[in-house]
Point group: C2
Chain length 219, copies 2
DNA sequence: ATTTATTTTTAGACAAATCTAAAAAATATA
DNA sequence: TATATTTTTTAGATTTGTCTAAAAATAAAT
């Protein structure tokens, strides 16, 4: 089934509000969508008729199973595009949200499947949020900084805490990008620097400061 | 200035019809857009008010300079996305049009600029149509099959005539893709096979049949 | 030059998504 | 418990893009 861009935006925002409280209310959704409560009420009725929403007048509302699946699919598209924009097009992570909000509505299934494969099935987006897989399963992923990874472990870069041009320049030099695989080789106690192996490049040493700013996850 | 998806679709289709005849008429545009002539007339008035269209009742219409610039920008976005879908996501060229029709309406300038750079500033899309540059200049490009390229010339693959899985499998083997650079080394008269060098791979020999199916352009 | 046919436009209606202003329900306060 | 406040909903209007049916203009044919 296909939904309008407006419907998708409602569904997605209800989904996000539900992460904070089980039941969502009209005013907060109106605020989130930058619209008026009256408009929200209108749309709630439509979504209820389409079986996407459990809604009782004056009592609040929540997504049905069906609505939830739709929402997760939108979130998946959004986060895949964010990953693409950062890792392939070189956007900084704080600039991609609004573009991804437009791209997420291009709903061709094969497109998303192929994009996912092209990006190598990323599990975490550049903001550190998990990317649902094609079946709607949301990976639970433990993120930690490189400074906290034990020796001889292979990890994948998920996000970078400090996004200053200075650190981005350095990471570029190390060939470190979001999604790249890193093996932690050895920790040196003198200055707490760490030897790592980035992808297929020769091992190199990064400072503790850099290590603390790179967040990674396993597998 | 920003335009609705509907407006953009009208502008783009007027542009395409103008390639065939200077003046466009209501019925043909209605046919192209799969809509009714009455709806077209309504939109023509709006586009005229926005200075995108020269329009005289019952006489036909054409894009203004401003309208033309907008159209070329949409075409640019469409063809860049088509190039992306084929070369990066592995779609076949006859399957990308409808997806690109959706992606083309994501109008963020920086996105298109970065996409262009990521794709290495392609000049021809997978259908063999030229991709306008950021200033709206449309490259005039001479395409020919590899079989017709003189020795020692470097060319860029622009399209493949036969899109059967059989030839795609073979091209994949040769590392030949749309956008890849090929140097024509030597022609062998016995079977008219041709030695080529694909990118940075070792030289290889392709049959005349393959050569005739690969279209390329210079620079 | 009329008549006929085609093309284009107008007039008025409709659906989606929105708004304002007012009414109704729920919640908080005295 | 009665009153005040907040939240939510309804009623009716608006905008964008569409439609059908009828009228007007243009083009073709006798």
């Amino acid at each position: 089934m296909n939904f309008s861009i407006t419907e998708e935006n409602y569904i997605k925002n209800i989904y996000h509000l539900q992460q904070q409280s089980e039941l969502v209310n009209t005013n907060s959704l109106a605020f989130e969508l930058q619209t008026k409560p009256a408009s929200v009420t209108d749309m709630l009725k439509k979504l209820q008729i389409k079986n996407l929403l459990d809604y009782e007048k004056y009592k609040g509302f929540r997504l049905t199973n069906k609505g939830n699946k739709v929402a997760i699919n939108i979130v998946r598209r959004h986060r895949l595009w964010e990953f693409f924009l950062v890792t392939k097009l070189g956007f900084e992570w704080d600039k991609v949200h609004s573009i991804a909000e437009e791209l997420e509505h291009v709903s061709n299934q094969e497109l998303i499947q192929k994009l996912d494969r092209f990006l190598n099935h990323p599990q975490i987006d550049p903001h550190g949020d998990p990317i649902p897989d094609g079946n709607g399963k949301i990976p639970i992923i433990h993120q930690l900084s490189i400074a906290d990874v034990i020796e001889n472990k292979k990890v994948i870069v998920s996000s970078v805490a400090n996004q200053s041009p200075a650190i981005l320049e350095l990471l570029n030099h190390y060939h470190i990008n979001i999604g790249t695989e890193i093996k932690i080789n050895q920790r040196f106690s003198f200055d707490r620097s760490i030897e790592i192996k980035v992808g297929k490049y020769a091992p190199c040493i990064i400072s503790e400061l850099v290590a603390k700013n790179i967040f990674v996850h396993h597998e």
